[in-house]
Symmetry: C2
Subunit: 348 residues, 2 copies
DNA sequence: GTTGAATTTGGCAGCGCTGTCAATTCTGTT
DNA sequence: AACAGAATTGACAGCGCTGCCAAATTCAAC
């Protein structure tokens, strides 16, 4: 019943060429006559031939694999699952279309010795490339371990593209400026900002974008309208209380991430401040919670899938001998307007 | 700098044995003298030898890979990310500890022809085994495609274990009965149930568990206390309204999933019915939202990670020639008591 | 036509390991 | 001590493919 899979030899003899020529066709190598290519392809189709990955890897000394390294969500209370799924989605899309496979590699950077372990495992797998997702992409221990394996890698959202290697990031700063302008266009002049964890680079960039945005609209920057959160819902709630108790309170609050924005929504509900009638709220990240709460959050969608796709594609191209130019590839984010923002209230 | 990786030959000559003996030690095959094993192991350590996976796969005609097939979350509005991450976590744990790799394989069962495509891709990969997660594990198109590849596979939560093959599931029915009993022990006698999508088998089992639980406590089953949802938050909200408008309304509502339970919480808030003072609410699944909403949901945690682990382990064992007994392996769920349940109100 | 270069094809040696089977060494028994 | 049988080890042929290099063919220009 289950007949033996066709091998390269079967194809070669059916097409009347040598196995080497079949190999050339399969690998799209140059210098094969078009007619030859055609007959080989016909034989491949006829026999339903699929190259054996192990044999290719063994002979070519590298596996057609991309490894995606990311912060292990199970080590903390995984609301980041959506983040990871999106990264996986993008990486998988790139891999599948190029005949590569994706190996996922969560790793908990809290453990000591993750670096060594990661290095060891990558050594064993020998992938064609490694995608390192934020926030791991900013941790020296992880990055050094990856570097030590001597495998091509691409870091995502390092926030510090030095231009010496290919990197992928989003335009956090620009798009945050864009969100600020959007709020200003709605008539808001007192736009508050809730900063996040300072060690998180991407989150830091958003603050600069906020300042840029104010400046672009000719709005003054006011120290009093900036408060410091820690990325959590709870901190968003606290920050919001502080801001909303001011006598001349802001009419819009822009939070450096969605969790904190959700906290703002909660605080406003408790204080009976209507959203968006009396207060506009914007977040960043477009986590799934953003559209589940009421009112649904206006936010910035990070192009995670597209970023992971770009990074994986670059690695695959590089494995094929067509490395991408060093430098920062910027994948733009997108402002998602939902229910939590609206025109400035009349009385303000 | 980067010296050639040690091969089995290097180990063999250092240990003074044949490569076959090294192979035996590495693969833990029987009939090797303890002293030989020891010296080979020493050589392996000394040389930091790692078997080349491609070479092993090529020679042994199968890859040390497990494929995890699940419903593609990107096709719908992915709140299921947490579900998938947990499955991945368990499968990964099993694979890593056994020297296998995990390949993830989301597939959108809505597309026509997924079956053929899946089959094709598995054929190419030639994994040692396939774990098929719910709800895909109940779709004939997917299951048939997997079966056609002639690769060992394990289905998760089919709800229909026929005992003819090894399967993994949780004790949905029992644990739902347990939740019902827990509510009864809190003094509730009017416990309502919100059913979910009827085509979802696991969700269906929970209704039977609810009935079992009532019976075990000597509580009557009342048709009027059972309403029909569709697994969504919105439907939970509607069902709750219906239940809470009854003259002799229930004091506890048990929903077949957390989304619907979250809907109940929302409806209760709107109707100014205090939770858990006036109403207890329980859900199923322990989605991340469950602990983010207020009050945090009492729910049933599905042992997703443990189930995926068990399934993967079974496949790995089977690849090693130690197949598990056919039959249903039940991994028990866990009742997580949070804030949304409490004693029956006095006046009720 | 002829020549030299460019293009296209083929031959074949591995890649590092496992499966098969045969050879060797070790048991316990008579 | 001799012998069957079990336990242990080794030899060697691939697994299916790619890399390297040589051979064959085609092409371009004279």
């Amino acid at each position: 019943m289950r007949k033996r899979r066709a091998t390269i030899e079967d194809v070669a003899s059916l097409a009347g060429v040598s196995i080497k020529t079949v190999s050339r066709v399969v690998n799209r190598e140059p210098n094969v006559r078009a007619s030859t290519t055609a007959s080989v392809k016909k034989a491949i189709t006829k026999l339903d031939y699929r190259p054996n990955p192990s044999a290719r890897n063994l002979a070519s000394h590298r596996a057609r694999l991309i490894v995606l390294v990311y912060d292990d969500p199970s080590t903390y209370d995984a609301p980041s699952a959506g983040y990871i799924i999106k990264l996986q989605e993008g990486a998988l899309r790139a891999c599948r279309s190029e005949g590569f496979e994706l190996l996922i590699h969560p790793c908990s950077h809290r453990d000591s010795g993750v670096g060594a372990e990661l290095q060891e495992q990558i050594r064993q797998i020998r992938p064609s490339g490694i995608v390192v997702a934020a926030p791991l992409s900013n941790l020296p221990e992880i990055v050094d371990a990856v570097k030590a394996t001597n495998t091509p890698y691409v870091r995502l959202s390092t926030g510090t593209g030095n231009g010496k290697q290919y990197e992928v990031a989003t335009n956090d700063r620009d798009i945050s400026a864009g969100m600020t302008r959007y709020l200003a266009e709605l008539g808001h002049t007192r736009i508050a900002f809730i900063r996040g964890d300072r060690t998180h680079l991407a989150v830091g960039n958003r603050f600069w974008g906020y300042r840029d945005g104010l400046e672009q609209c000719g709005l003054p920057f006011a120290e009093e309208l900036v408060v410091e959160g820690d990325n959590s819902i709870g901190s968003g709630e606290k920050c919001a209380e502080q801001l909303l108790q001011m006598e001349n309170r802001p009419t819009a609050i822009f939070a450096a991430n969605d969790d904190m924005a959700a906290g703002v929504v909660r605080a406003a509900a408790r204080m009976r401040i209507g959203i968006p009638d009396q207060l506009s709220v914007a977040g960043c990240d477009d986590i799934s919670l953003a559209q589940m709460i009421f009112p649904a959050l206006t936010t910035i969608r990070q192009p995670l899938s597209a970023m992971a796709h770009a990074a994986s594609k670059a690695l695959i191209d590089s494995a094929r001998g067509r490395p991408h130019e060093p430098g920062l590839e910027v994948v733009p984010g997108e402002i998602i307007i939902r229910e939590s923002t609206g025109p400035v209230p009349r009385n303000a």
